[in-house]
């Protein structure tokens, strides 16, 4: 068994030996339901699709993903297990990827457990299931983006609370980077090219097309680049701060 996979396995099972996993999954399922049925008006729209369900995923992830990622590294640093981990024959990159993949798989489990939504919509009408599948994949990729940010931020601090709050703020900026509340900060001094670049960082923009069932290669590249970037920073931060 490769060291990366051993770390992945340990991290993934650790979610389920504590109540964290169950609390998270229940809250996630409850909130996706509430948003889809009440705020998204799933029934009233009278359409056999899951758009009202997927529409709110960025906003749910905004708070729920940092709740998963906040402990990834800050807990290791606080409890001192990072010293154990970093003196085992494992590279920092393996450790970062292993832990990240475990958190991502856990999110995938939570997302997969929303399958009653899919059954419901298929029972009530004839939805385009390829669109639904694309939306699920898109939602999972977006969750991966949020997680990479959260994992990196949790490496900066020993406090899970600080990791949570900072991650939420940064994720919020990424969701809204195409909107005036973020762009206004840069409007007065940054050139138009920078503004366009920042606007193109928006999770919402990239998720909108995926949500319609179109997996555009540009969106996939965007999220992949984002994940690689944050995990790379994560490795650098662990390297620098592991012992402090």
């Amino acid at each position: 068994m490769s060291p990366l996979y051993s770390i992945y396995k340990r991290e993934f099972t650790s979610y389920f030996v504590t109540p964290v996993a169950y609390v998270f999954i229940v809250i996630f399922l409850f909130l996706t339901g509430v948003f889809a049925f009440y705020i998204g008006a799933f029934f009233e729209t009278n359409q056999a699709d899951l758009e009202p369900f997927f529409r709110f995923h960025p906003w749910l992830y905004l708070f729920l993903i940092p709740a998963i990622s906040m402990r990834l590294w800050s807990d290791e640093r606080k409890s001192g297990t990072i010293e154990l981990l970093m003196t085992l024959p494992v590279s920092i990159t393996d450790a970062v990827i292993g832990k990240y993949m475990a958190a991502w798989s856990f999110t995938a489990v939570a997302l997969a457990l929303t399958f009653p939504m899919w059954i419901t919509v298929n029972y009530l009408g004839n939805p385009d299931n390829t669109v639904i599948l694309a939306s699920y994949i898109g939602s999972l990729i977006m969750a991966g983006g949020f997680l990479a940010i959260g994992s990196c931020i949790s490496a900066f601090t020993k406090s899970q609370v600080i990791a949570f709050v900072i991650s939420v703020v940064i994720c919020f900026m990424f969701i809204l980077s195409g909107f005036p509340m973020v762009l206004d900060i840069f409007q007065s001094w940054a050139p138009q090219a920078v503004l366009d670049a920042i606007a193109s960082f928006s999770f919402l923009t990239h998720f909108t097309s995926i949500k319609k069932g179109v997996i555009d290669i540009r969106d996939v590249i965007y999220f992949s680049a984002l994940i690689i970037f944050w995990l790379y920073v994560n490795v650098v931060v662990i390297e620098a701060k592991k012992a402090s």
């Binding site: 060291p3 996979y5 051993s6 099972t13 030996v17 504590t18 154990l84 003196t87 085992l88 024959p89």
Partner: protein
């Protein structure tokens, strides 16, 4: 006896603080080296550099011929390390924790389970094997830490305060264990208990304020004191104001 650990003019500074200053020593196969010094002297920092957790500011560490900066994974493979305070994943059971270590250490086949059983037996943790680590007493946590360190039967063992928090019986067991293992390993232990040095170590090193003050056998250390008292010898070496005479007249 082949040299297993080679530490050469090691320096480590944290900002303006020089935690370790020009420390050099070697440990041979078959030796048990006792690492002594007052709190904050740089013992743990030196151990962290040998195990590759901390990068030295300057100087080199070689373990089994591998430089710890150039070949960190090779070094980590041949070293078993008990960090200070014996950190472990509290939510895991002893069994799953040892299995995790076996996974990362890539122990496979029948050898793997045999080795886990062996270590559980040697360290005497069989009856807590299904308990989660956070529910264990300090002594058992320390033992799990030692079990984790020796699981892959490393040729080099670095134990940071292995007997801290253990009761006298457990201390005795751990000392016996170290003596038993010493034949085919190079072992470094840090401790505050000076009798321990006399009991298990073949050599002792004292560092104070990051500087190496003494390197010799326990007998040589005791000889530093005119009263043949190891505590007294330690005080003479680590506190500059204390010399034999003043200490005697004060009492």
């Amino acid at each position: 006896m082949p040299v297993t650990i080679k530490v050469k003019s090691l320096n480590k500074s944290f900002g303006p603080i020089n935690a370790v200053r020009g420390v050099s020593f070697e440990v041979n196969h078959g030796e048990v080296l006792g690492f002594l010094g007052p709190n904050g002297a740089g013992k743990s920092t030196t151990m962290k550099m040998i195990t590759g957790f901390l990068e030295p500011t300057s100087g080199t560490v070689e373990v089994n011929g591998f430089d710890v900066l150039d070949n960190p994974i090779e070094v980590k493979r041949s070293v078993g390390y008990l960090p200070e305070g014996a950190p472990a994943y509290g939510e895991m059971t002893v069994k799953s924790f040892l299995n995790f270590i076996a996974d990362v250490r890539q122990l496979t086949g029948s050898h793997r389970q045999k080795r886990i059983d062996e270590v559980v037996d040697i360290i005497n943790i069989k009856h807590v094997i299904d308990q989660s680590i956070e529910t264990l007493s300090k002594g058992f946590k320390r033992r799990v830490g030692i079990a984790q360190a020796i699981l892959h039967d490393p040729s080099v063992l670095i134990l940071d305060e292995p007997t801290d928090g253990l009761d006298p019986n457990q201390k005795h067991e751990v000392r016996n264990l170290i003596t038993e293992m010493s034949e085919d390993k190079a072992i470094v232990i840090s401790t505050h208990i000076l009798e321990e040095v006399d009991a298990v170590c073949s050599r002792a090193i004292i560092i104070s304020s990051g500087v190496l003050m003494f390197d010799g056998t326990p007998t040589e250390l005791i000889a530093k004191s005119d009263r043949s008292d190891i505590d007294h010898a330690f005080r003479i070496i680590t506190t500059p104001t204390v010399n034999g005479k003043r200490e005697t007249s004060a009492q």
